[in-house]
């Protein structure tokens, strides 16, 4: 299968001197869903942000369909519009209604007319089951609803890869279900995605592949079965610490 995204020897050194990512490499194939797990500070969010260059990686290469995207000459806005991103804290545009949140990118990046954009938006809203709240302001939505709108906003751009940055960590436990269901639905439809998550159960059920990061390096990776059957001490320890929390 064709590799949609490949990361080669990525390093990120923050301005304060923190070496957050120390040589991470992995490929994501078409239609594959990859879960990145790991404890806080292991560099998993940094990897994700480096992929669409919200953070510039210090070294290494990021290729989208074989095209190097972390050079100063790449059209970064075009690259970003091809990579959907969902944030931990939703980051909906507070001054816009739900439907306008979604049409904003379509109208100003994809240059669609208002009518076309709205038709497109209604389609994705239906997909995430938020059609009935299309005229609400983000401030009046629950956390789960906000996150589903955020997913719809990213989906509307018809991205080639979706990046989820801990999409459920800011949600109450009873709201997580609806968001995970939406993401699972996308995975089933064959959307290529990388999910940074703390939901071990979700990673096991949905992800085709799991990457365990620790201290800025990939400590273990493989089929989702490694969660039930960890090969390294580090992952074992991580999994047991999580199950203790539960």
């Amino acid at each position: 299968m064709e590799s949609v995204l490949s990361i080669v020897d990525m390093h990120k050194m923050y301005a304060g001197g923190v070496h957050a990512v120390r040589g991470v490499s992995f490929d994501v194939k078409e239609g594959e869903s990859v879960a990145i797990i790991g404890s806080s500070g292991s560099g998993k969010s940094t990897v994700l942000r480096c992929i669409n260059r919200l953070i510039e990686p210090t070294e290494g290469e990021v290729m989208l369909r074989g095209e190097m995207i972390n050079t100063p000459n790449a059209d970064i806005n075009d690259v970003r519009s091809r990579i959907g991103m969902v944030f931990q804290s939703f980051e909906l545009f507070a001054h816009l209604r739900v439907i306008d949140n979604i049409t904003l990118g379509l109208r100003h990046v994809r240059k669609m007319s208002r009518k076309e954009a709205q038709a497109e938006a209604l389609e994705v809203l239906e997909k995430v089951d938020m059609l009935d709240r299309k005229d609400a302001f983000p401030g009046n939505l629950s956390g789960g609803q906000k996150q589903r709108v955020a997913i719809a906003r990213a989906l509307a751009m018809k991205p080639e890869v979706m990046l989820f940055d801990e999409p459920t960590s800011a949600l109450d436990p009873e709201l997580i279900g609806s968001v995970l269901k939406t993401i699972r639905g996308l995975a089933d439809e064959g959307m290529t995605m990388i999910v940074v998550t703390h939901e071990i159960g979700f990673a096991r059920d949905v992800a085709d592949r799991v990457i365990y990061m620790d201290k800025g390096v990939v400590a273990e990776s493989g089929e989702s079965s490694i969660i039930d059957n960890p090969q390294t001490e580090r992952l074992k320890k991580f999994l047991s610490s999580i199950s203790e929390e539960d």
Binding site: N52, L54, P72, N73, N77, D78, R80, S81, R82, I83, G84, M85, F87, S89, E91, L92, F93, A94, H95, L104, G105, H108, V109, F137, P138, G139, N140, A150, R153, A154, M157
Partner: protein, 712 residues
């Protein structure tokens, strides 16, 4: 149906009721008009001159007055102008100019005819000379029997102790001359020529006319005293020269702007002469029955009623003291006044300003005018300030560093650009060095160099803003060039050891747009607004720089908005200056307010905007700014209220806004508490309305869940 029928039959009756009503109203109106009509009467009285020829010139000393006219007519009066007798003609020439002083009287014609009367006891003497081809245009006594005469082609003759000498200069056509004493005199002429002599008319130096009058025809000059001289042009302009600290009269000339003409410098009449009664009181005469007087140095010029028809061309005025005077004109017209020509009020009740109702009745009109003037500068100031504020705040928050600019280009290109900008910067500074050296500064005095290089010639020179741009660009390009040449492709910050301390030095982290905006806001936030007003109006003269050309562009357009812009905004220089001072100042403060609001937007919003592919400016415009503007409505309200209140400082540049009107009301009524109190109320109404509008806006634009604003 029945009802309709009734109303139809009633309708004639209704009609007659309204007619009765109208008649009653009219009669009430008629009754309420007071019996004794209120009117103005001319302050001038007609005197019989006994001649019908045109009179050109008049002079008076004490009770003795002489008028001169067509065909050598000389009229004399020994009783302040009440009765006149005609002297024997001194020849066929028109006596078109005259002067008096040092006990003597003098008259002259354009062909070289000159007659003089040395003292009250003596007779008129003919001291004519041969002027050749030249056209005599101005005479002045500078001694009991000493005369200076000027004319075309720079001709200047002096008559002293019985003989004529020629002190002509070349080039310019002279039109008038006036001596203050035996030494100091001013001559004026075509093309804005002003000459000064301090040796009794032997040598003459050029002086600069105000730039507005640099090509005008200056027809009359009055060297009135040690502290004041006036001159007029035939286009209806008045210019004056005052002593300023150690600079004597005659050096600096300023155009007079007439508040009574809406701030224009042009009276819109053909003037013929000016007569100065006291330092700040002068009378003007003109064609088409024009006589006018100003009591405040030209700020307010009141046209006077005359007891003759408006075809009379007045040629000259002579004032015997501050109040008594004589005007002469065409067809032997002579007018005399005992009140400087001021119109007499007949049948007017004397207003009693000790009664509040009367006071309000008198002052409300002026206050409303002032209010509109204030609103005028405030509205334009707010627009300018907001535009600047948004632009500057975007510049201040721009994330692009030199590193990012350089990184995108190849190293060779970066170094090449560095070399070019280094050379260009060096050339700019090299151009400035002789100018700075020419300023003659020492040591710490160099902090004033920026002012010196913009205007090295002082009041007589032009403003050279390009020099300031050369300085800023030169220094910046030199530094930038040095940095770019030294680029090694790493763009890292470096650490310097200074006195044992590690200093982090990161020139690549400089954000150029932020840098420019910071210079701007620092300048405007660290200087007092009142000084900005004075500097922009009197120093930069932004009205002449920007207002006049723009007004010229709109010349002739008849649109409602364009003609308003031209007549009420752009052609009023004080108004343009006030708008710029308020707008530029407010822009600096609004910038900081908006920047604060931008900083309050979570960085995730920018990330979210960028992550769907919007570029930086799109995200700013579509995502960040709409939220930031909502957040900063309350502090912006503060800023706008401040702007309204600060607009009162426009009075220091003579813009007749609300506060200045209060001063003018005080000058008439002396009711200080009432006038300033009413101004306070007027300001309160404006700012409170503004605050209400902003409060409404705030509620209207509130987004649920965005910010803590109280309520839902």
């Amino acid at each position: 149906m029945r009802e309709t029928a009734i109303s139809q039959t009633n309708s004639p009756f209704k009609h007659s009721i309204s007619r009765y009503f109208a008649i009653v109203l009219l009669s009430i109106l008629l009754v309420s008009v007071t019996a004794n009509a209120q009117e103005y009467r001319s302050g001038w009285d007609v005197v019989n001159s006994g001649v019908t020829s045109d009179l050109f010139s008049v002079e008076g000393e004490g009770e003795e007055i002489w008028a001169f006219g067509e065909n050598g007519i000389v009229l004399g009066s020994q009783n302040s102008g009440a009765t006149w007798t005609q002297m024997e003609s001194m020849g066929p020439s028109n006596l078109s100019m005259s002067d008096s002083g040092f006990g003597a009287f003098l008259a002259a014609g354009r062909d070289g005819t000159v007659i003089i009367k040395i003292d009250s006891g003596s007779q008129w003497e003919d001291i004519s000379f041969d002027a050749g081809e030249e056209d005599i245009r101005g005479v002045s006594l500078n001694g009991n029997s000493s005369v200076v005469i000027v004319g075309s082609n720079g001709s200047i003759w002096k008559y002293d102790s019985g003989s004529w000498s020629d002190y002509s200069i070349s080039g310019v056509d002279l039109l008038d001359v006036s001596f203050l004493d035996s030494e100091r005199g001013i001559a004026v002429g075509e093309e804005g020529a002003i000459l000064f002599s301090d040796d009794g008319g032997v040598t003459w130096d050029y002086r600069d006319a105000p730039s507005e009058a640099s090509s005008s025809r200056i027809i009359d000059v009055e060297f009135y005293s040690d502290i004041r001289a006036y001159a007029i042009t035939d286009m209806g302009e008045v210019m004056k020269s005052s002593r300023e600290i150690s600079t004597p009269v005659g050096f600096l000339w300023n155009m007079q702007y007439f508040e009574s003409e809406g701030g224009s410098s042009n009276l819109g009449v053909n003037l013929t002469s000016i007569e100065v009664a006291t330092t700040n009181k002068f009378l003007l005469s003109g064609t088409e029955g024009y006589l006018s007087m100003s009591k405040d140095g030209g700020n307010i010029v009141n046209r006077q009623m005359i007891p003759l028809d408006n075809l009379t061309a007045f040629n000259d005025i002579a004032m015997l003291d501050g109040f008594r005077g004589i005007a002469v004109g065409s067809n032997g017209s002579i007018l005399i006044t005992e009140r400087a020509g001021e119109d007499e009020q007949v049948g007017f009740e004397v207003r009693d300003f000790s009664e509040f109702g009367n006071f309000v009745d008198y002052s409300k009109g002026m206050l409303i005018d002032g209010l509109f003037a204030t609103l005028n500068i405030v509205l334009f100031g707010i627009f300018l300030g907001f535009f600047l504020g948004v632009t500057l705040s975007m510049m201040k928050t721009s994330p692009t560093t030199l590193k990012e600019v350089a990184q995108k280009r190849s190293l060779i290109l970066v170094r090449l650009f560095g070399a070019v900008s280094f050379i260009v910067g060096f050339m700019f500074l090299d151009h400035l060095i002789p100018i700075i050296e020419g300023l003659g500064l020492n040591g710490w005095e160099y902090i004033y160099a920026p002012i010196g290089i913009i205007n090295p010639g002082g009041i007589t020179g032009d403003l050279q803003f390009e020099n300031f741009a050369y300085l800023i660009l030169g220094v910046s390009l030199l530094l930038l060039g040095g940095l770019f040449i030294s680029a090694n492709g790493k763009y890292k910050k470096s650490e310097l050891e200074i006195f044992g301390r590690t200093v982090i030095w990161n020139p690549w982290g400089v954000r150029p747009l932020n840098f420019i905006a910071t210079i701007y806001t620092d300048i405007f936030r660290n200087t007092p607004l009142i000084v900005q007003f004075l500097f922009i109006h009197f120093g930069v003269q932004i009205g002449a720089l920007i207002g006049d050309p723009l007004a010229e562009m709109l010349d002739g357009s008849t649109g409602l908005i364009t003609s308003f812009l031209r007549d009420d905004v752009l052609s009023n220089r004080a108004c343009v200056s006030a708008i710029f001072a308020l707008g530029l100042n407010s822009g600096a403060y609004q910038c900081e307010t908006i920047r604060g609001a931008i900083a309050a937007i979570p960085s995730g919003q920018m990330e979210a905007g960028r992550s769907i592919g919007l570029n930086y400016m799109q995200t700013m415009r579509l995502v960040i700014m709409p939220q930031a503007i909502r957040i900063c409505i309350p502090p912006m309200g503060n800023e706008m209220v401040n702007l309204v209140l600060n607009s009162s400082l426009a009075m220091v540049i003579g813009y007749s806004e609300l506060t200045r009107k209060a001063k003018l009301i005080n000058a008439v009524t002396f009711q200080v508490f009432w006038s300033y109190g009413m101004v306070l109320i007027s300001y309160f109404i404006v700012t409170w309305t503004l605050a209400l509008i902003l409060r409404y806006l705030e509620n209207k634009t509130r987004i649920p869940g965005l910010g803590i604003s109280g309520g839902n």
